[in-house]
């Protein structure tokens, strides 16, 4: 089922061909990062909230089996049907079976990165089921036959003119109209008809409360609610890591989530689904798909604390300039790069290298995941397991030899300064991928070591 695809650097190279678009993408995401900062700085207790959130999630990981069982028992008591899926395939089959039981061929779906991870839409399409994504950004990428490029802002890579053209082709709007207000209103009318006619609605889950068996879904558009309340059957898909122990813990997470994501104080809707509506059905599918394996990796398990705010993407200098599609994974950016190798170490071997290790991701993470350290650790695992590309292996070996020998280190520094000064063409040519989109700095006359030696003698 998996397609052969290029690696991150190559895909980023494609994205980088349009320099204006890269600048615009970069600036838009940085603007959202700045909005996050503004919201965060209004709360003096922000760091304590991050600590609390991190500790709650740590506690959950240490007691996950107990909480999953508690959640299941309470959800069953609430009249909800609970399913367990070991992997993507089982998840998709369960959804399909529910559709068959209902005898319907059309579904409306709100945002769920888990269903992206499971490739649910493709699976259902192959089985003759139509899925319409109802989040505006997701509907846009669906019309464009693309995947979302960001977990919170699915079509952040698209210009309004491109969206106007898509709406012209698929929804019959006048050609050339790309006014966001007009396009949003068109989507409102188009999707209202979908909400009113679909019998099955699928949503994701932001938080699942063990104490009460309820699930919480957060949206700004209200699409999860429109779908779920108007359908006969509500299916909610969640990874095992969405569990939190108590309702009071929502206070911590709902304060952190949207401030981190977009700088809003909270999403417009934070909906708490406990029981199905009278005479209707609610199903919750609890999915593993590699999460228990990640739980068993001490260096990487706390990636499971992620609450999917996207702050690490908005702040990442590599993500902002390479675009979400260059990560060829349902979840892009720094967090995607530490989650993906667990799913398939060979296929995603390139992702932990798509980082400068600057650490900005870890600094903004609301649940304090050590993202950049995990990126670094994945590199070592990937090289050791033999999944790194040949050039990467050689360059890492050269780097390691150079840094472990003082003589080699000093010589390399001298050579570098000489080359930059007298023969820059040896570095800044098209054969050197590092030089793409970069300018060389002017070389200093001497190294700090040489300067120190000289000036120490003078004294």
């Amino acid at each position: 089922m998996k397609e052969i695809h290029a690696e991150h650097a190559e895909l980023a190279g494609e994205f980088n061909k349009d320099e204006d678009r890269v600048d615009w993408h970069d600036e838009t995401l940085w603007w959202i990062r700045a909005k996050r900062d503004k919201a965060v700085n209004q709360l003096p207790e922000w760091e304590r909230l991050r600590d609390a959130a991190s500790q709650i999630k740590d506690h959950v990981l240490g007691n996950l089996d107990t909480y999953l069982e508690q959640f299941e028992a309470n959800a069953l008591q609430n009249g909800v049907k609970v399913h367990w899926a070991a992997n993507a395939e089982e998840h998709n089959k369960i959804v399909y079976q529910i559709m068959l039981d209902q005898g319907v061929l059309r579904m409306v779906k709100s945002k769920s990165m888990l269903t992206e991870e499971c490739h649910l839409n493709e699976y259902l399409k192959e089985h003759g089921i139509e899925v319409i994504d109802s989040d505006l950004g997701e509907r846009i990428v669906q019309l464009a036959e693309e995947a979302p490029s960001h977990i919170v802002l699915p079509c952040i890579h698209k210009k309004k003119e491109e969206i106007g053209e898509l709406f012209h082709i698929h929804l019959g709007t006048e050609k050339g109209n790309s006014d966001p207000q007009f396009l949003t209103n068109t989507a409102r009318i188009h999707l209202r008809e979908i909400f009113l006619t679909r019998k099955v609605a699928l949503t994701g889950v932001n938080f699942a409360v063990a104490e009460t068996g309820e699930i919480v879904v957060c949206t700004n558009e209200g699409n999860a609610d429109m779908g779920a309340h108007l359908a006969n059957v509500h299916i909610a898909s969640m990874g095992i890591e969405k569990i939190i122990p108590k309702k009071e813990h929502l206070g911590v997470f709902l304060r952190l989530l949207t401030r981190s994501a977009t700088g809003q104080p909270i999403t417009t809707y934070s909906s708490h689904f406990k029981t199905p509506q009278n005479g209707r059905e609610m199903h919750i599918i609890i999915v593993d798909n590699g999460r228990t394996r990640q739980l068993g990796r001490p260096d990487f398990r706390n990636s499971l604390k992620c609450i999917r705010c996207g702050a690490c993407m908005n702040t990442c200098p590599v993500y902002r300039r390479s675009g979400g599609h260059s990560y060829h994974n349902a979840i892009a950016g720094p967090i995607g790069s530490i989650l993906a190798p667990n799913l398939d170490m060979k296929d995603y071997a390139d992702l932990p290298f798509a980082s400068t290790l600057c650490g900005s991701c870890s600094n903004v993470c609301p649940v304090k995941i050590d993202i950049h350290q995990q990126l670094y650790k994945w590199r070592q695992v990937i090289v050791k397991e033999g999944y790194a590309t040949k050039t990467k292996k050689v360059s890492m070996q050269v780097m390691s030899n150079t840094l472990s020998s003082p003589t080699a280190y000093h010589l390399a520094g001298k050579m570098g300064r000489f080359v930059i000064k007298y023969a820059p063409f040896a570095v800044n040519n098209r054969l050197n991928p590092w030089y793409k989109q970069r300018d060389l700095p002017s070389a200093p006359e001497q190294s700090f070591g040489e300067w120190y030696k000289e000036n120490r003698k003078k004294q």
Partner: protein, 199 residues
């Protein structure tokens, strides 16, 4: 499909792979109920695209303000007995949310409001039908000033173990910024949200 087998195997793997348990944090630090909450609620709700009226008076006076605010909108609905009396509303709450598709203005009472984010907490018993606050074109919420709390921590304290089948924090009109980050109010749900804070 063998869901029960998957259940046992998932729980088994979790038990095998989970780390040592660590304690839950103490959240009492975050409770501080002293801020001047009404002003903050009004400001924040305004910032997120909503509107607040802080006022004294009866439900009838609130209704006449609403009719003033939405002169051209005729179909007003509420499942609250006081509001229904004031509106002289005969229409009975139907079982399916589809029936509210043409509602212009829905009026719903909230349990309480949260100053730090402009959200109100509404459960399905107050909505009448879960779809109503989402499917209406404009949403009006009535909340008692004495029921405003500073933050989400006090909010969940207030919810406590109260019974509900469905509940939502609603903060402002439905919105999206998916097209080039341009904010548009009225994505799928209400195009406006007005909160009456009753002194």
């Amino acid at each position: 499909m063998s869901t029960s087998t998957s259940r046992d195997s998932i729980l088994g793997k979790v038990a095998l792979n989970k780390p040592e348990s660590t304690p839950l944090p103490d959240l009492s630090f975050f409770i501080n109920g002293t801020a001047a909450v009404t002003e903050q609620f009004i400001t924040i709700l305004g910032n997120i695209g909503g509107k607040a009226h802080h006022r004294e008076g009866t439900i009838d006076e609130v209704i006449s303000t609403i009719k003033n605010d939405f002169p051209e909108l005729k179909r007003i609905y509420s499942s609250d007995p006081d509001v229904r009396r004031a509106l002289d509303l005969q229409f009975v709450t139907p079982a399916s949310g589809h029936a509210f598709e043409d509602v212009d203005v829905a009026i719903i009472k909230a349990h309480f409001g949260v100053a730090e984010n402009g959200a109100v907490w509404i459960t399905d018993d107050l909505m009448g039908n879960r779809a109503l606050p989402f499917i209406c074109q404009h949403l009006v919420v009535i909340v008692d000033e004495k029921n405003l709390v500073p933050t989400m921590h006090e909010a969940y304290k207030k919810i406590g173990s109260s019974k509900y089948n469905y509940g939502a924090f609603i903060a402002g009109p439905s919105k999206t910024a998916d097209i080039e980050q341009s904010l548009v109010l009225g994505a799928h749900g209400p195009k406006s949200m007005t909160v009456f804070i009753m002194a």
